[in-house]
């Protein structure tokens, strides 16, 4: 968009732009600010009608201590890390070789397989939850880490995205690697994946953010508190223990939201790329 010379930082248009964006930004941030504010207030101040962000008596230590000890919050966070980590590793391990075969090799059934990937891409996962629940029940893995992970070990989107990236790598690179005596699997891991790192990272962020935040399937797959990922855990904390005890509840919410927010602020461009890559499917 062309900026005429008069549009300096001090021009009325620029000031209006900053004013509006600061206001909308502030409105967007209100729930975050309110959450943090309540998480450091004592019950007396929470239930008093007041606008102050900062409490008269700082109660943060007490609230965060209760959040971390009364609910198994560290366990929830650890579960989230384990589940998201295993899912993304499994997805890359399964999808990258398949994407390489689809992008660079010729074999009977290739077009059919790609068509299946495209169809799987448009299936909403919630629709599959009932048969997946039954499958998990039949093989006896409900209420384990495996139950949280198994529906996601293959990602149609991952196959699709990696295939698009692998196709942009020149065939000569593959030929040269073969002449050097690399096996096809070695070509995937030592040539294609390192050369497609931006796509792998974008997909990794897409996958981790999605599964860290997901409530629907964990609600179905596990019952034990010791297995709950953060969203399910915090819901249980709200329903069973905290109730209207807002201080610890908000402290717990802050702890759950914090890791992704911090990672996002540290690597904003990657996050935006990863999370919008999912929409270009």
């Amino acid at each position: 968009m062309s900026i005429s010379a008069t549009h300096g930082l001090g021009s009325p248009a620029a000031i209006t732009r900053h004013a509006i964006l600061l206001i909308t930004g502030a409105v967007i941030l209100v729930p975050f600010v309110w959450m943090i504010s309540l998480s450091i207030k004592p019950p007396g101040e929470i239930f008093r009608a007041s606008f102050s962000f900062w409490p008269e008596h700082f109660f943060g230590i007490e609230n965060y201590t209760r959040a971390l000890t009364e609910a198994p919050l560290p366990q929830y966070m650890l579960n989230g890390v384990i589940v998201c980590g295993l899912i993304v590793v499994a997805q890359v391990a399964v999808c990258a070789p398949a994407a390489y075969a689809l992008a660079k090799l010729d074999f009977p059934g290739k077009n059919l397989m790609f068509a299946l990937v495209l169809v799987a891409l448009i299936l909403p996962h919630e629709v599959l939850s009932l048969p997946l629940f039954i499958l998990g029940y039949q093989i006896g893995i409900l209420n384990t880490y495996a139950a949280l992970i198994f529906p996601y070990v293959v990602s149609p989107f991952g196959i699709f995205l990696f295939r698009q990236f692998f196709k942009t790598i020149p065939d000569d690179v593959v030929h040269a690697a073969r002449l050097d005596g690399l096996s096809e699997l070695a070509i995937v891991w030592r040539i294609m994946v390192p050369m497609s790192l931006p796509a792998i990272i974008a997909f990794g962020i897409f996958s981790v953010v999605g599964h860290w935040n997901s409530l629907f399937w964990p609600l179905i797959a596990v019952r034990d508190q010791s297995l709950m990922p953060p969203p399910l855990g915090i819901m249980a904390f709200k329903n069973e223990e905290a109730g209207n005890d807002y201080g610890p509840l908000m402290a717990a919410s802050t702890v759950v939201v914090a890791p992704l927010i911090i990672a996002f602020i540290a690597a904003q461009r990657w996050f935006v790329e990863g999370l919008t890559a999912g929409s270009t499917k």
Partner: protein, 318 residues
């Protein structure tokens, strides 16, 4: 474009290749196909087991009266679908979902576009504004829903305190059947507008500077003229695309309903995915739940096919 070794140049002049060479070539080809399948095979098996068999079973289960845990089931044809269509609860759920989508989609698009245009209209602080507005899209919605509940609390919530301070009427937003759905929709807009914004920002970047220069020469001096003659028409395809992806996200709303309202009061905030969850996994009405899943699947697939057509058009358009 594939890199599989070509099946040898079959020029008429070359007669040197013997049967042995041909066999070696065929073996090489077989080895290639085998290695391709050993790479693609695991993914294919998992796609079939985790996607295609389940989706087929949803259709099959929807035609039975099965209840999870029961040892018998019988084929009931379309009886579940007739029951779904006649069910007041399901009708309310479908109507609520549509109303929710009708509020969230335009709200998200208009705000997302406006903010994207504002950010792009200047050079300073772009990353900062983009980050702030994008924050809700990646924050854990379950946790943020709890923060929203505190904000909307009838007595101690910031919303009612502010309204009371301004002398305006307040409400018990999440317990009043007239306000609960619009409030959930507002949370939906809050969550998704940053997503629409980044998609629009990408669309804005893709508009060639030449178009603005041409508009300048044609006398479109004002910001508004350039917006009307260049920006908005060029954003048309992106806007269609954003429309569909936001609609899909809105149809798939579950977390806020589950955490904040459980579909209540009455059926006032019940939405499709929540109905699907409750019927299938709380009431264990498996056959009925499966037919709700089928209805949901048809809506989502229809929207996605529209998206595919739009994307096709966009490719031709550029």
């Amino acid at each position: 474009m594939t890199v599989a070794s070509p099946t040898a140049p079959q020029e008429a002049g070359i007669r040197t290749d013997t049967a042995a060479a041909r066999r070696a070539l065929r073996n090489q080809r077989i080895a290639e196909v085998l290695s391709a399948w050993s790479l693609a095979g695991p993914a294919l098996v998992l796609l079939v087991v985790l996607f295609f068999l389940p989706v087929l079973s949803v259709f099959a289960i929807a035609l039975t009266d099965w209840q999870f845990g029961a040892s018998t089931l019988s084929f009931v044809g379309l009886a579940n679908f007739r029951e779904v269509v006649a069910d007041q609860g399901f009708r309310a759920s479908l109507a609520n979902t549509l109303l929710y989508v009708v509020i969230v989609v335009p709200g998200t698009i208009v705000l997302g576009l406006a903010i994207a245009l504002l950010i792009e209209s200047g050079k300073s602080c772009r990353a900062f504004y983009r980050a702030i507005h994008f924050l809700p899209f990646m924050a854990t919605l379950t946790a943020m829903a709890i923060a929203w509940e505190a904000l909307l609390h009838p007595t101690i919530g910031l919303v009612n305190q502010t309204l009371a301070g301004l002398g305006l009427p307040s409400a018990n937003w999440l317990r009043d059947e007239n306000t609960v759905l619009p409030i959930l929709a507002m949370i939906g807009i809050w969550q998704n507008l940053g997503y629409a914004m980044v998609l629009f920002l990408a669309g804005l970047k893709a508009i060639p500077q030449d178009f603005y220069d041409a508009a300048d020469i044609d006398g479109a001096d004002l910001w508004f003229d350039r917006l009307r003659t260049v920006t908005l028409p060029m954003l048309g395809p992106v806007a269609m695309f954003v429309f569909i992806v936001v609609a899909l996200k809105a149809f798939e709303t579950f977390d806020t309903v589950q955490v904040l309202t459980q579909g209540g009061p009455g059926h006032a905030s019940e939405m499709l995915l929540y109905t699907l969850y409750r019927e299938s996994f709380e009431y264990l009405r498996t056959g009925y739940g499966a037919s709700v899943a089928v209805v949901f699947l048809f809506i989502v697939v229809a929207l996605t096919l529209v998206q595919a057509r739009v994307m096709d058009k966009r490719v031709h358009y550029q």
